[in-house]
């Protein structure tokens, strides 16, 4: 018995040892598995929660915007309300929720759906027989009268509604080690184009080291932040993008922590109570295209308004000179402010980079694009500015909805129509001259639906979260697909032509369009980072990289650009014209009051977009000073009272900036890539 037990106990011990050996093998396998590092974790659970919330009508599309019914969450998912709330909030913050172009079936909790034939409704949806038109749900080709009734019933009951699209990749977690940040030690400074500090690491005394941003909230949307009091390891924006570059040299630093290296020094320094770090390399510095003074001025001019965006480009180079995105956030705020900002993230949208991440209705400022297409596609032959349309004062392209009102009946020239921003003219231009698919296909071929990155090629791969990817513009129903058959009627086309309802663009794209107009039809894409300077161990600059856009993107023919330039220059002027009968009449450009009495000449276009919430976004896009324009701008001020117009709100901001630019621009030559040496910023340390 004893020997038997000894055998069995030895075997059991060996089994345990075998288990340990297996674990050890597994550990070795994991440690040398090169693929492990880049794997990602998909949070299917959270994705399913958001999908369920969409299916049950918690997240709906109202007036072209995603609306979340928070109170419904508690009612539907009483046990896991907090989890649902957290996930939906995260999705909406990440911009993963958007209104889709299709209707969908949802099941709200208070609606009795037993009578509705949901499966067959879903089938019809799939076939495309139930579709969305002007945010209303329409049906066609449904032969079964009962089903027709059911569709109507479902729409009134709120079971058939406009769908919400959800981008699932939001809830993907990646290895934090890939974006690990060694903290502030290896962060270089960031300068503006004139060598003024935008971000630096400084501090005196132990543990008071901070990343400092002299312009505080004014550069927040570009620079981002590195660590905030609530989460010291979080980072965003350029700070997050550049982290791997700042990291490149710190392998030496890491080696200091290994067991086998510098052990004696380490013990000695602990014994003495001193820490000695051997020679460290100076981190690289970066220079942005931003102009600090111009940015400060733009923010000052923007002070009366709480929400909005402004971007100023240098036309010949595509450099972004100034960016305003309000509301913003001071990255050096204290814990309470950060907490509040993070809590209010969805509501306040402080973290949204409006200039290139937010799509706005362009309103009348889209008329330059309508004109551009009409001129460039030879719909208006030979770029003739005296092309005119007979107006009736009211345009009703289809038999529902409000008519599009013009200023007055009679004949109106193209350039005058743009100067006074006549809605009827451009609605008729879109409907009667640019037939349906043309506007959209032409836009598509000019890169209207494509995003691009504001970063140079080398840095673009580092921007995995897409902080600097410009979101593509949008037509809520993409023209070329939907145009001929599926209910994209003339009404929609007319409204698209004047920048309402279906078109949404980013301010940056509008600024790029006007800079292309100013530059003879093509312009370099905007970019943000100008150069990087690397240092050796003696803190001497060794390597300098200039990031430059070398290629232009062509949007239109040079003739079209010239014609548009002439047309847009009328917007800021008041002038007199003679009719054929030799009668004189005055034309007041919509921005003429704002640019009253200036010594230079600016071309632009105002815009006033109705948001549908009884508020307006006012636009002004412009370039100048003529005849050799150097600066292009796009200015959007959000949520103003209904009577506000671009000419009165946004244009004065542009004037303020041009006043400054014209008086101060003589110091620096426009484009001089070759002669400009490596102007290393002085006082960079």
């Amino acid at each position: 018995m004893r020997t038997q037990f000894q055998t069995s106990s030895l075997r059991l011990f060996l089994i345990l040892c075998g288990g340990l050996v297996i674990i050890a093998g597994r550990l070795v396998m994991l440690a040398f598995d090169a693929k492990l590092e880049t794997k990602t974790f998909e949070q299917t659970n959270r994705v399913m929660r958001v999908k369920e919330a969409i299916a049950k009508g918690v997240i709906v599309c109202k007036r072209n915007e995603v609306a979340i019914n928070w109170s419904l969450i508690e009612q539907l998912f009483p046990e896991e309300a907090s989890a649902y709330r957290k996930d939906i909030e995260a999705a909406s913050q990440a911009g993963a929720l958007s209104c889709s172009a299709k209707p969908m079936v949802i099941v709200p909790p208070d609606v009795d759906v037993t009578e509705l034939p949901l499966p067959s409704l879903k089938q019809e949806l799939k076939k495309g027989n139930i579709y969305l038109e002007r945010e209303a749900i329409k049906q066609k080709e449904i032969s079964d009268p009962a089903l027709r009734n059911a569709v109507a019933k479902a729409v009134t009951a709120g079971v058939l509604v406009r769908g919400v699209e959800f981008e699932e990749s939001t809830f993907t977690e990646s290895n934090p080690r890939l974006r690990q940040d060694r903290g502030l030690l290896y962060r270089g400074n960031i300068f503006d184009r004139n060598g003024k500090l935008l971000a630096e690491t400084s501090g005196e005394g132990a543990s008071r080291v901070r990343r400092r941003y002299p312009l505080s909230e004014k550069t927040f949307h570009i620079l981002g932040y590195v660590g905030h009091p609530a989460d010291p390891s979080a980072s965003e924006g350029l700070e997050a993008v550049l982290a791997p570059i700042f990291r490149q040299d710190d392998t030496r630093y890491e080696a200091l922590f290994k067991l086998d290296k510098g052990l004696f020094t380490r013990l000695l320094s602990l014994f003495k109570g001193e820490i000695v770090i051997p020679d460290l390399k100076k981190p690289p510095n970066f220079t942005l295209t931003i102009d600090q003074d111009l940015t400060e001025l733009a923010w000052k001019l923007f002070e009366p308004y709480n929400h909005g965006a402004l971007v100023c480009l240098e036309i010949p180079t595509g450099e972004v000179l100034a960016v305003v995105s309000k509301p913003s956030m001071n990255p050096e705020s204290d814990m309470a402010t950060w907490r509040k900002a993070l809590d209010d993230r969805a509501r306040e949208q402080r973290f949204l980079r409006r200039v290139w991440k937010q799509r706005y209705f362009p309103g009348s400022s889209f008329k330059i694009i309508t004109s551009m297409i009409a001129l460039d596609e030879q719909v208006i032959p030979n770029q003739a500015l005296d092309f005119s349309i007979n107006l009736t004062g009211e345009f009703r392209p289809c038999d529902y909805g409000k008519a599009i009102k013009g200023r007055k009946p009679g004949k109106l020239r193209l350039d005058e129509a743009l100067a006074i921003s006549d809605n009827e003219f451009f609605a008729r231009l879109a409907v009667e001259h640019l037939a349906c698919p043309r506007l959209f296909t032409a836009l598509g071929s000019r890169g209207f639906y494509e995003g691009f990155s504001l970063l140079p090629e080398e840095l673009r791969q580092l921007d995995s979260k897409g902080y600097f990817t410009v979101v593509p513009n949008q037509l809520t129903s993409k023209g070329e697909q939907i145009c001929p058959a599926k209910g994209f009627d003339d009404c929609m086309l007319a409204r698209s032509g004047i920048g309402q309802q279906d078109v949404q663009v980013t301010p940056l794209w509008m600024a790029f369009v006007v800079s292309a107009i100013a530059n003879g039809g093509s312009a370099p894409l905007p970019y943000l980072v100008k150069r990087a300077v690397e240092y050796d161990e003696a803190a001497q600059p060794t390597n300098m990289k200039e990031y430059r856009r070398t290629e232009n993107r062509t949007l239109m023919a040079p003739q079209t650009a010239a014609a548009l330039r002439d047309m847009m220059s009328l917007v800021t002027k008041s002038f007199t014209r003679r009719t054929a009968n030799n009668q004189t009449y005055s034309v007041y450009g919509t921005a003429s009051r704002a640019f009253n009495g200036v010594t230079y000449q600016v071309a632009g276009k105002t815009g006033t977009a109705e948001t549908g919430h009884k508020t307006n976004h006012t636009w002004f896009v412009c370039f100048g000073p003529l005849p050799q324009p150097r600066y292009a701008m796009a200015i959007v001020v959000e949520n103003l009272p209904e009577n506000s117009a671009g000419g009165r709100i946004s244009a004065p901001i542009a004037r303020g900036l041009f006043d400054y630019l014209v008086t101060n621009s003589t110091t620096e030559p426009a484009i001089d890539f070759q002669t400009q040496g490596p102007d290393l910023p002085t006082g960079a340390d």
């Binding site: 340990l20 550990l27 440690a31 949070q43 934090p176 903290g183 290994k258 380490r266 020679d279």
Partner: protein, 507 residues
Amino acid sequence: MPDFHREFLAYLLATLLLALLFASTQWALLVSIERGDLQSAASYGVKVKSFTGAKPELKSMDIQVKDLILQARWGTNLLLLLLGFILLSGIVRTPEPALVTRAKVSPSPGLVERVLSWWPEPNPSLSPILLPVLYLLTGLSLVTLFRLCPALVATKPISQNAVYLTMFQRQVYFVLAGIAAAALVYIILSQPRWLLRLKTLNWWIPALLNVILIVITIKFGVTINYRRLWIRVGSMNVQTIELGKIFMLIFLVNYFYRVRLFGWIIGWARDKHRRRLYWWLKHQSLAFVFYAVGLFPIVYQRDFGPILLFAFLYIALSYAWSCEFWTPLFLIVVFLIIGVGFYHVGWPSILVTRVELLKDPWSSVVGRVDSSQLANALWAFGASGFDGVGLGVGLPHRVQGVYAEFILAAIAEETGIIGALLVIGLYGWMLYGIYTTARNAGSYESFLGIGIMLMLGFQTLIIFGGITGTIFLTGITIPFLSYGGSSVVSSFVLIGMVLALRQRRRG
């Protein structure tokens, strides 16, 4: 070399290694906290007076962390730990004083002699390496916690980090309490009559106690993370299964020991080929029912680590009992059927969740937890390489629960495969220590010792397998390594039992 010298040498080496690790950790932490400031200083080539001068400023989180590191005083705590283990070794190794012998023969001993008569004689069968190995293991746990605490404090919001602030210090106290418990258990079980009481304890008593304990927990426990596994005692939450585990062990050991003797006496071996199932039913079914009844409340608690552990233990002990393969094979089939049945029924849901998680650790599954815990742990293991990223440099604190079940991920990431294999090796060595001790002890004692070896071994295997994605992940503590008072103390109680396993005195 005498055992005493070997033990002393082992303690010395372990202390040196631990001191080195502690110093490295502290150095790394101080540098990483101070590094921002050091940038300017280092660029001037100036040595920085680092942390001794600055007055703390409580608003700043860095300073809070730094204070913590300074307060932690690893040197003192390491000495405390060493002292604890040396005392324990001393108690185990010191021969009984003359007083004790006198007390035993004296017809009327005094009070001092009465108390001293409890002094156990040294245990010759005890492996000399067992206690130093445990010292190194607990020390490694403390080093890791010492490194993790500030990182955890820094990444969590202030409101949630109170527990992390004191984690290291508390673990030191837990280990000291564990050592005291081990000493107590050793002294008590070294008394032949107490060992006899344990040996003759009816097997259903600990089984019943376990059930009562779990039911009390379900009724009056504290719920943490949707699960009610703790009872509040004073200011501490005690995980009752850690005590229940010991009850369960005694139940199984006593039962199998009794049945084995019984079976031997009436000679079932003679006709085992004909009546195996009959014997199994007769002698094991009752225990199996008790065992299953005992497990049921734990299933209700959705605490699958202990269930898996008890299943392994049951199978292994039944093998140790019968020394033939058919019974454990039959049991394995039974357990598999039960497990697969539960999985297919889909109750409890956590079982399904965990199995799905093992199938694909790279996506969360339907269930209550949407946890990237395992994925994070795998990333940490993947980052380890041969010698790790360096102490204080990695990101192990991104793994949720890294101070408890996932502590191996922290060790592996920062000290590499060397550190991880050291830990695995130490566990192997510890099991070997228990095995040799048990092998040299008396028959019941060796049975108990093998039971303890199996329990600690399986516990280690289950959790290491879980966190490396080898088997499905179940929440069970790592003996001696993971943070937690209940776990540390109960593991030391088991070790206290091992210390008392000796060859019965003849005559």
